[in-house]
Symmetry: C2
Subunit: 349 residues, 2 copies
DNA sequence: TTGTACGCGTTATCAC
DNA sequence: GTGATAACGCGTACAA
């Protein structure tokens, strides 16, 4: 506990400006500006200016520059929550955007429509150079307005069709198809799905993959084996109970995301059941917890680094004043990583 | 893949300004400004202004406002990495700051000194209202400059003594003391520590707690049982090997953070050893993985929500133009959560 | 190349 | 309360 006081509450002392530097260096303001923006300047002047900057401890005022150029070098990022997927993605994104001199302004909306609107207001007012977000359909009109105003948008994870934005998605449907097919290869006949929220395109696509895999083997979809969750652990927990208490419980389950899988594992543990002995399990999303668990969980791994890289590339190229380009939709491949949470099923069980 | 084009590259169409609104509403600019800032205004004018704003779809320009007021409503956050601790903290922080109309600008430095300097430059130029960071001693001079310029700083996790900043820390030493004492209560005689990086104050304090616990029982510190890691999983992995290959390996270990514990668990698994049968283990930091594992890991839980809350409170009060207050240092309590990763030791083992 | 002067959109300060 | 106007710090067009 210290008792010294800060100068004043957030009040900065008058900082040196470009004009002060110019005066101290004995050159014109324009010359200093040219120097700051890395353009050619006479050698002697440069030394004078560098000395003046040092002496006055001049710091560039990006706010004033932004007012002129209408470029803030800030990228708005709107995410639902800081789960493992997003943490990982944000870390990559921040690193990649940094190299082009930009930083992320992050808003976390927790699926609250009011917060989403607040975030958009904030980004709008702050004049962020671009916006990255998980497609959330409720704000279609706002987003159309923003693109019309010339703010580039990149959707990831979930799509809102019809909006003029770049997109980075993963092959939700076909990866899910492969994961479910793996369970069918193991002779499972009662394969359930815990689906994600169906208002999200990723939730719908993962369910489609499940349905297609069953369909291609001529297995009818049993509605009792299709449970819709909310992506969150508690809904996985509830879904597990609902499924396992059926007269004929499934022998295998495909869980549409990491969070709900946590819930399933918790329910199994709480009820003395084991994976894969009592239930084979495959999860969308691969996280550290799945790898370390014994037996480890078979999972679909999203290429998070590549997702971040694609987003960053799209943003940077879109913001390049040199060239204009059509909208792009990137779809990235996922890996199904086979581990120990599934086993072959036989009618004897 | 769509082929429609965006209007232009990041070029905004001329947006309506406060002056346009004033003209359309038939009032003065000042009146509109008063209205926008929620102050009293004549009823008839208000209706005119609201109509004009709607008609012109006027959006406030926070950049211009920031230039006048020198307040950007952005808080710079500099973190080393997006691990579970930081993800959780950032989510809380973002939520708390949002209620005061502020957002976080995040930079992730990966312990790279150059990046840390870049981040400080960026925050400096962008005129963030305040700065939150893990104390990193290398940039002491820069930070002194910033506080002198009136930018409030809050340190968390690690301290840099002598800088005029607010601080939010946890009781690293005494929590570690209690955790190690727990191992000693279980009769362990060879208790090791995998310490964190000793240039971090938290790393030093956790080691101090370990030493004090041993000292208070009259147990001498055996240097062979003290291994310094880098906080990261690979160093935990290496440390586990180093310790377990001693002639007299420890029977219990206190690991100074979550990341290194992951490494230890991996080494144990890779070498067919089990926790707690072959090694009792207590970890600093409590994460989902530890709770779900079987047996679950005994761990020290940091009060992440309270940390975020303290930081937000300090920031908001420091930025309140009304009052000035002395610097504050908050130290928060941790919980030692007993689970299944330790067992009683007897000489027979 | 250099110097000057203006504009960016807002807030603050005056008289009224 | 309201209206007119001067800043805020930078980029840039223009004339030199």
């Amino acid at each position: 506990m210290s008792d010294e006081d800060l100068p004043q509450n957030g009040t900065r002392r008058r900082a040196a400006t470009i004009a002060d530097v110019a005066e101290a260096a004995g050159v014109a303001i324009g010359t200093v500006s040219r120097f700051l923006n890395g353009r050619e300047i006479r050698r002697g002047n440069r030394e004078q200016i560098e000395a003046a900057i040092e002496k006055l401890s001049y710091r560039r005022n990006a706010v004033a520059a932004a007012m002129k150029t209408d470029k803030t070098h800030m990228i708005g990022l709107l995410i639902p929550t800081f789960d493992e997927f997003h943490s990982d993605m944000v870390e990559h994104l921040a690193r990649l955007l940094r190299t082009s001199g930009r930083a992320l302004v992050i808003y976390c909306h927790s699926h609250d429509a009011r917060v989403i609107n607040d975030a958009l207001d904030f980004f709008d007012a702050q004049r962020v150079d671009a916006l990255i977000m998980d497609g959330v359909a409720e704000v279609r009109a706002r987003l159309e307005q923003m693109t019309a105003d010339g703010v580039p948008i990149v959707f990831y994870n979930n799509d809102i069709p019809g909006i003029a934005a770049d997109r980075v998605m993963v092959e939700n449907s076909s990866a899910s198809y492969r994961a479910v097919s793996h369970l069918l290869d193991l002779r499972h006949e009662r394969v359930a799905i815990i689906a994600g929220a169906q208002y999200d395109s990723s939730g719908r696509q993962r369910l489609e993959g499940y349905e297609a895999a069953l369909h291609d083997r001529g297995i009818p979809i049993d509605p009792a084996y299709v449970v819709e969750g909310t992506w969150r652990p508690d809904s996985g927990y509830d879904a597990a109970r609902q499924l396992m208490q059926l007269d004929k419980p499934p022998t295998a389950v495909f869980v549409s995301n990491y969070g709900m899988t946590i819930g399933v594992l918790e329910w199994m543990r709480d009820n003395g059941l084991r994976v894969p002995d009592d239930l084979s399990l495959v999860s969308f999303d691969d996280v550290a917890l799945f790898r370390l668990r014994e037996p480890a969980i078979t999972a679909i791994s999203q290429p998070i680094a590549a997702i971040a890289e694609s987003i960053a590339t799209l943003i940077v190229s879109r913001l390049d004043p040199g060239k204009s380009r059509p909208l792009r939709s990137v779809v990235l491949k996922c890996d199904v990583i086979l581990r120990g949470s599934t086993r072959r099923w036989s009618p004897a069980d």
